[in-house]
Protein backbone atom coordinates (compact mmCIF):
# COMPACT_ATOMS: atom_id res chain seq x y z
CA UNK A 1 0.00 0.00 0.00
CA UNK A 2 1.00 3.59 -0.58
CA UNK A 3 2.16 4.97 2.79
CA UNK A 4 0.98 8.47 1.75
CA UNK A 5 -2.55 7.16 1.38
CA UNK A 6 -4.80 7.84 4.36
CA UNK A 7 -6.56 5.02 6.15
CA UNK A 8 -9.86 6.40 4.88
CA UNK A 9 -8.67 6.27 1.26
CA UNK A 10 -7.22 2.81 1.72
CA UNK A 11 -10.36 1.42 3.33
CA UNK A 12 -12.53 3.02 0.66
CA UNK A 13 -10.40 1.32 -1.99
CA UNK A 14 -11.02 -1.98 -0.23
CA UNK A 15 -14.75 -1.37 -0.09
CA UNK A 16 -14.90 -0.62 3.63
CA UNK A 17 -17.38 2.20 4.29
CA UNK A 18 -17.08 5.08 6.70
CA UNK A 19 -19.82 3.43 8.72
CA UNK A 20 -17.31 0.73 9.65
CA UNK A 21 -14.95 3.45 10.94
CA UNK A 22 -17.73 5.02 12.97
CA UNK A 23 -18.75 1.67 14.37
CA UNK A 24 -15.16 0.81 15.27
CA UNK A 25 -14.74 4.18 16.95
CA UNK A 26 -17.97 3.69 18.96
CA UNK A 27 -16.70 0.31 20.07
CA UNK A 28 -13.30 1.70 21.11
CA UNK A 29 -14.77 4.73 22.86
CA UNK A 30 -17.06 2.49 24.87
CA UNK A 31 -14.32 0.01 25.68
CA UNK A 32 -11.86 2.74 26.73
CA UNK A 33 -14.51 4.60 28.76
CA UNK A 34 -14.21 7.70 26.57
CA UNK A 35 -17.25 9.99 26.30
CA UNK A 36 -19.62 8.78 23.55
CA UNK A 37 -19.06 12.06 21.70
CA UNK A 38 -15.36 11.13 21.33
CA UNK A 39 -16.23 8.39 18.88
CA UNK A 40 -16.89 10.84 16.03
CA UNK A 41 -13.56 12.58 16.65
CA UNK A 42 -11.77 9.23 16.82
CA UNK A 43 -13.39 8.07 13.57
CA UNK A 44 -12.37 11.34 11.93
CA UNK A 45 -8.82 10.97 13.25
CA UNK A 46 -8.52 7.39 12.02
CA UNK A 47 -9.89 8.35 8.62
CA UNK A 48 -7.16 10.94 8.08
CA UNK A 49 -4.31 8.98 9.70
CA UNK A 50 -1.57 7.31 7.64
CA UNK A 51 -1.01 3.61 7.98
CA UNK A 52 1.23 3.12 11.01
CA UNK A 53 4.49 1.20 10.69
CA UNK A 54 4.93 -1.20 13.61
CA UNK A 55 7.97 -3.26 14.57
CA UNK A 56 7.12 -5.97 17.08
CA UNK A 57 10.00 -7.35 19.14
CA UNK A 58 9.56 -10.58 21.10
CA UNK A 59 12.12 -11.30 23.79
CA UNK A 60 11.79 -13.54 26.89
CA UNK A 61 8.11 -14.37 26.41
CA UNK A 62 5.70 -17.22 25.65
CA UNK A 63 3.89 -15.75 22.58
CA UNK A 64 0.70 -15.50 24.66
CA UNK A 65 0.46 -11.76 23.98
CA UNK A 66 0.48 -12.35 20.22
CA UNK A 67 -2.02 -15.19 20.66
CA UNK A 68 -4.29 -12.83 22.57
CA UNK A 69 -4.13 -10.17 19.88
CA UNK A 70 -4.72 -12.54 16.97
CA UNK A 71 -7.11 -15.09 18.46
CA UNK A 72 -10.13 -13.96 16.48
CA UNK A 73 -10.84 -16.42 13.68
CA UNK A 74 -12.84 -14.30 11.29
CA UNK A 75 -12.34 -10.80 9.93
CA UNK A 76 -14.52 -8.76 12.23
CA UNK A 77 -14.86 -5.39 13.83
CA UNK A 78 -12.08 -6.20 16.27
CA UNK A 79 -9.69 -7.14 13.47
CA UNK A 80 -9.90 -3.80 11.69
CA UNK A 81 -6.80 -2.74 13.59
CA UNK A 82 -4.72 -5.07 11.41
CA UNK A 83 -5.76 -3.03 8.37
CA UNK A 84 -4.67 0.14 10.13
CA UNK A 85 -1.08 -0.93 10.79
CA UNK A 86 1.80 -2.18 8.71
CA UNK A 87 3.33 -4.94 10.81
CA UNK A 88 6.82 -4.79 9.29
CA UNK A 89 8.52 -7.19 11.69
CA UNK A 90 7.16 -9.91 13.93
CA UNK A 91 8.96 -13.22 14.49
CA UNK A 92 5.85 -15.35 14.68
CA UNK A 93 3.66 -13.74 12.05
CA UNK A 94 6.02 -12.62 9.30
CA UNK A 95 6.69 -14.83 6.29
CA UNK A 96 10.33 -13.79 5.99
CA UNK A 97 13.00 -15.43 8.13
CA UNK A 98 16.71 -15.14 8.82
CA UNK A 99 18.54 -12.29 7.05
CA UNK A 100 15.42 -11.32 5.08
CA UNK A 101 13.50 -10.75 8.32
CA UNK A 102 16.26 -8.59 9.79
CA UNK A 103 16.47 -6.66 6.52
CA UNK A 104 12.72 -5.95 6.77
CA UNK A 105 13.22 -4.50 10.25
CA UNK A 106 16.11 -2.29 9.15
CA UNK A 107 14.25 -1.15 6.05
CA UNK A 108 11.22 -0.15 8.09
CA UNK A 109 13.47 1.78 10.49
CA UNK A 110 14.99 3.71 7.59
CA UNK A 111 11.73 4.30 5.71
CA UNK A 112 9.80 5.41 8.81
CA UNK A 113 12.53 7.10 10.82
CA UNK A 114 11.02 8.90 13.81
CA UNK A 115 7.51 7.67 12.96
CA UNK A 116 7.31 3.96 13.67
CA UNK A 117 6.02 2.33 16.84
CA UNK A 118 7.92 -0.45 18.57
CA UNK A 119 5.80 -3.01 20.39
CA UNK A 120 7.71 -5.24 22.78
CA UNK A 121 6.55 -8.38 24.52
CA UNK A 122 8.81 -10.23 26.91
CA UNK A 123 11.44 -9.10 29.38
CA UNK A 124 15.05 -8.44 28.43
CA UNK A 125 17.98 -10.36 29.95
CA UNK A 126 20.92 -8.09 30.73
CA UNK A 127 23.15 -10.35 32.85
CA UNK A 128 26.50 -11.33 31.26
CA UNK A 129 25.99 -8.92 28.38
CA UNK A 130 22.52 -10.25 27.62
CA UNK A 131 23.77 -13.49 26.10
CA UNK A 132 20.87 -15.56 27.48
CA UNK A 133 18.51 -14.52 24.67
CA UNK A 134 19.69 -13.60 21.20
CA UNK A 135 18.03 -13.08 17.83
CA UNK A 136 20.05 -13.27 14.61
CA UNK A 137 23.19 -13.31 16.74
CA UNK A 138 22.29 -10.10 18.59
CA UNK A 139 21.46 -9.87 22.27
CA UNK A 140 17.87 -8.75 22.94
CA UNK A 141 19.13 -5.70 24.81
CA UNK A 142 21.19 -4.58 21.80
CA UNK A 143 18.31 -5.16 19.38
CA UNK A 144 15.98 -3.17 21.63
CA UNK A 145 18.33 -0.17 21.85
CA UNK A 146 19.02 -0.25 18.11
CA UNK A 147 15.34 -0.47 17.16
CA UNK A 148 14.05 2.06 19.64
CA UNK A 149 16.52 4.82 18.84
CA UNK A 150 14.49 6.17 15.88
CA UNK A 151 11.04 5.15 17.08
CA UNK A 152 8.14 7.49 17.70
CA UNK A 153 6.98 5.57 20.76
CA UNK A 154 7.29 2.22 22.48
CA UNK A 155 4.43 0.03 23.71
CA UNK A 156 5.31 -2.69 26.21
CA UNK A 157 2.66 -5.41 26.19
CA UNK A 158 2.22 -8.16 28.76
CA UNK A 159 3.43 -8.59 32.30
CA UNK A 160 6.94 -9.68 31.23
CA UNK A 161 7.59 -6.50 29.24
CA UNK A 162 5.95 -4.18 31.75
CA UNK A 163 7.10 -5.66 35.06
CA UNK A 164 9.53 -8.47 34.23
CA UNK A 165 7.04 -11.31 34.58
CA UNK A 166 8.14 -14.92 35.14
CA UNK A 167 11.72 -14.43 33.91
CA UNK A 168 12.10 -11.70 36.56
CA UNK A 169 11.14 -14.07 39.40
CA UNK A 170 13.83 -14.97 41.91
CA UNK A 171 16.52 -16.04 41.38
CA UNK A 172 16.19 -14.32 37.99
CA UNK A 173 19.12 -16.23 36.45
CA UNK A 174 19.19 -14.18 33.24
CA UNK A 175 19.03 -10.76 34.91
CA UNK A 176 15.69 -10.06 33.25
CA UNK A 177 14.37 -6.50 33.40
CA UNK A 178 11.20 -4.78 32.16
CA UNK A 179 11.33 -2.40 29.18
CA UNK A 180 10.91 0.63 31.45
CA UNK A 181 14.37 -0.09 32.91
CA UNK A 182 15.95 0.23 29.46
CA UNK A 183 13.89 2.79 27.55
CA UNK A 184 14.15 6.21 29.16
CA UNK A 185 14.10 8.72 26.31
CA UNK A 186 10.97 7.71 24.39
CA UNK A 187 7.27 7.78 25.21
CA UNK A 188 6.57 4.37 26.76
CA UNK A 189 3.07 2.93 27.18
CA UNK A 190 2.73 -0.07 29.48
CA UNK A 191 -0.12 -2.54 28.85
CA UNK A 192 0.22 -5.23 31.52
CA UNK A 193 -1.64 -8.53 31.66
CA UNK A 194 -0.84 -12.17 31.10
CA UNK A 195 -1.93 -11.94 28.39
CA UNK A 196 -3.27 -8.39 28.08
CA UNK A 197 -6.89 -7.91 27.07
CA UNK A 198 -6.72 -7.74 23.25
CA UNK A 199 -9.00 -4.68 23.17
CA UNK A 200 -6.52 -2.86 25.44
CA UNK A 201 -3.77 -3.42 22.86
CA UNK A 202 -5.84 -2.55 19.79
CA UNK A 203 -7.48 0.36 21.60
CA UNK A 204 -4.11 1.85 22.51
CA UNK A 205 -2.84 1.61 18.95
CA UNK A 206 -6.07 3.09 17.58
CA UNK A 207 -5.89 5.92 20.14
CA UNK A 208 -2.34 6.77 19.03
CA UNK A 209 -3.43 6.67 15.40
CA UNK A 210 -6.60 8.67 15.89
CA UNK A 211 -5.45 11.28 18.37
CA UNK A 212 -1.67 11.27 17.82
Amino acid sequence: MNRKETLGEMMNRRGVSRRAFLKYASYLASMMALPPAASSALAQGLTHARRQAVIWLSFQECTGCTESLTRSNNPTLEDLIFDFISLDYHHTLQAASGDAAEEARHQSMVDNKGKYIVIVDGSVPVKDGGIYSTIAGHANVDMLHETVQDAFAVIAVGTCATFGGLPYAKPNPTGAVPISDLVKDKPLINIPGCPPVPEAMTGTIAHVLGFG
Partner: protein, 145 residues
Protein backbone atom coordinates in the same frame (compact mmCIF):
# COMPACT_ATOMS: atom_id res chain seq x y z
CA UNK B 1 -16.13 -4.68 30.30
CA UNK B 2 -14.58 -6.68 27.52
CA UNK B 3 -17.26 -7.38 24.91
CA UNK B 4 -19.79 -8.09 27.63
CA UNK B 5 -17.98 -11.17 28.95
CA UNK B 6 -17.29 -9.88 32.47
CA UNK B 7 -20.12 -9.22 34.94
CA UNK B 8 -21.17 -5.58 35.01
CA UNK B 9 -21.30 -5.61 38.79
CA UNK B 10 -18.96 -8.01 40.61
CA UNK B 11 -20.98 -10.51 42.62
CA UNK B 12 -24.25 -9.46 41.04
CA UNK B 13 -26.05 -11.92 38.74
CA UNK B 14 -26.82 -10.67 35.22
CA UNK B 15 -30.47 -11.62 35.87
CA UNK B 16 -30.68 -9.19 38.82
CA UNK B 17 -32.58 -5.94 38.34
CA UNK B 18 -30.71 -3.13 40.10
CA UNK B 19 -32.98 -0.18 39.39
CA UNK B 20 -30.53 1.47 36.99
CA UNK B 21 -33.08 1.29 34.16
CA UNK B 22 -35.21 3.87 35.98
CA UNK B 23 -32.14 6.04 36.60
CA UNK B 24 -31.31 5.99 32.87
CA UNK B 25 -34.90 6.91 32.04
CA UNK B 26 -34.65 9.90 34.38
CA UNK B 27 -31.41 11.02 32.70
CA UNK B 28 -33.00 10.45 29.32
CA UNK B 29 -35.87 12.77 30.18
CA UNK B 30 -33.44 15.64 30.61
CA UNK B 31 -31.71 14.84 27.32
CA UNK B 32 -34.98 14.54 25.44
CA UNK B 33 -36.09 17.90 26.84
CA UNK B 34 -32.81 19.49 25.68
CA UNK B 35 -33.24 17.94 22.24
CA UNK B 36 -36.78 19.27 22.05
CA UNK B 37 -35.87 22.76 23.31
CA UNK B 38 -32.59 23.52 21.55
CA UNK B 39 -31.97 20.54 19.26
CA UNK B 40 -28.93 19.35 21.22
CA UNK B 41 -28.03 15.76 20.40
CA UNK B 42 -26.61 13.37 22.98
CA UNK B 43 -25.68 9.74 23.55
CA UNK B 44 -25.73 7.42 26.55
CA UNK B 45 -23.18 4.60 26.43
CA UNK B 46 -25.02 1.73 28.10
CA UNK B 47 -21.93 -0.48 28.26
CA UNK B 48 -20.09 2.09 30.39
CA UNK B 49 -22.77 1.85 33.07
CA UNK B 50 -22.82 -0.89 35.71
CA UNK B 51 -26.02 -2.37 34.30
CA UNK B 52 -26.88 -6.06 34.32
CA UNK B 53 -28.37 -7.81 31.29
CA UNK B 54 -31.73 -7.71 33.11
CA UNK B 55 -31.40 -3.91 33.55
CA UNK B 56 -30.81 -3.42 29.84
CA UNK B 57 -33.68 -5.75 28.90
CA UNK B 58 -36.02 -3.88 31.23
CA UNK B 59 -34.92 -0.52 29.83
CA UNK B 60 -35.41 -1.74 26.27
CA UNK B 61 -38.83 -3.11 27.15
CA UNK B 62 -39.88 0.18 28.76
CA UNK B 63 -38.74 2.23 25.76
CA UNK B 64 -40.26 -0.21 23.27
CA UNK B 65 -39.76 -0.27 19.52
CA UNK B 66 -41.05 2.53 17.33
CA UNK B 67 -41.62 2.92 13.61
CA UNK B 68 -38.09 2.52 12.34
CA UNK B 69 -35.97 -0.57 12.65
CA UNK B 70 -32.93 -1.24 10.49
CA UNK B 71 -29.76 -3.30 10.27
CA UNK B 72 -26.30 -2.31 9.04
CA UNK B 73 -23.73 -4.73 7.71
CA UNK B 74 -20.40 -2.97 8.24
CA UNK B 75 -17.67 -4.94 10.03
CA UNK B 76 -20.37 -7.10 11.57
CA UNK B 77 -24.04 -6.52 12.25
CA UNK B 78 -25.51 -3.37 13.78
CA UNK B 79 -29.15 -2.93 14.75
CA UNK B 80 -30.61 0.57 14.92
CA UNK B 81 -34.15 1.05 16.17
CA UNK B 82 -36.16 4.10 17.06
CA UNK B 83 -37.92 3.59 20.35
CA UNK B 84 -41.53 4.60 21.00
CA UNK B 85 -40.12 7.96 22.15
CA UNK B 86 -39.57 10.10 19.03
CA UNK B 87 -35.92 10.94 18.50
CA UNK B 88 -34.70 8.31 20.96
CA UNK B 89 -32.79 5.52 19.22
CA UNK B 90 -31.40 2.22 20.49
CA UNK B 91 -28.11 1.44 18.70
CA UNK B 92 -26.46 -1.95 19.09
CA UNK B 93 -23.14 -2.81 17.40
CA UNK B 94 -22.00 -6.42 17.25
CA UNK B 95 -18.45 -7.66 16.79
CA UNK B 96 -17.12 -11.14 16.15
CA UNK B 97 -19.39 -14.10 16.85
CA UNK B 98 -22.33 -11.81 17.61
CA UNK B 99 -20.77 -10.36 20.75
CA UNK B 100 -22.03 -6.92 21.71
CA UNK B 101 -19.28 -4.38 20.96
CA UNK B 102 -21.21 -1.23 21.84
CA UNK B 103 -24.74 -0.40 22.90
CA UNK B 104 -26.01 3.15 23.05
CA UNK B 105 -29.12 5.25 23.34
CA UNK B 106 -28.86 8.17 20.93
CA UNK B 107 -31.06 11.24 21.22
CA UNK B 108 -31.06 12.63 17.72
CA UNK B 109 -33.21 13.04 14.61
CA UNK B 110 -31.22 10.24 12.99
CA UNK B 111 -28.15 8.35 14.27
CA UNK B 112 -24.96 9.40 12.50
CA UNK B 113 -24.16 5.85 11.41
CA UNK B 114 -27.27 5.73 9.23
CA UNK B 115 -26.17 8.74 7.20
CA UNK B 116 -24.05 8.13 4.13
CA UNK B 117 -20.67 9.78 4.71
CA UNK B 118 -19.68 12.54 2.24
CA UNK B 119 -16.50 10.63 1.36
CA UNK B 120 -18.56 7.57 0.45
CA UNK B 121 -20.86 9.78 -1.63
CA UNK B 122 -17.80 11.18 -3.40
CA UNK B 123 -16.85 7.69 -4.53
CA UNK B 124 -20.35 6.94 -5.84
CA UNK B 125 -19.97 8.24 -9.44
CA UNK B 126 -16.83 6.19 -9.98
CA UNK B 127 -18.46 3.03 -8.57
CA UNK B 128 -21.61 3.48 -10.64
CA UNK B 129 -19.55 4.16 -13.78
CA UNK B 130 -17.62 0.94 -13.18
CA UNK B 131 -20.89 -0.93 -12.70
CA UNK B 132 -22.35 0.48 -15.95
CA UNK B 133 -19.13 -0.27 -17.83
CA UNK B 134 -19.14 -3.81 -16.49
CA UNK B 135 -22.80 -4.46 -17.43
CA UNK B 136 -22.28 -2.99 -20.93
CA UNK B 137 -19.40 -5.39 -21.47
CA UNK B 138 -21.46 -8.36 -20.27
CA UNK B 139 -24.49 -7.50 -22.43
CA UNK B 140 -22.63 -6.71 -25.66
CA UNK B 141 -23.32 -9.63 -28.05
CA UNK B 142 -20.26 -11.18 -29.62
CA UNK B 143 -20.03 -10.72 -33.34
CA UNK B 144 -20.13 -13.91 -35.30
CA UNK B 145 -17.59 -14.25 -38.04
Amino acid sequence: MSMGTAPAIPGCAESHVTGLADAVLAELLGLVQQHSDVGEESTIDLRSLPMTDADRELLKERLGTGEVSTTINAAGLSIVEETTIPGVWWVRHEGGEGRVAAEQIAVTRIPEILLTHPDDIASAPEKLSALIHSSVEQNTPERSL
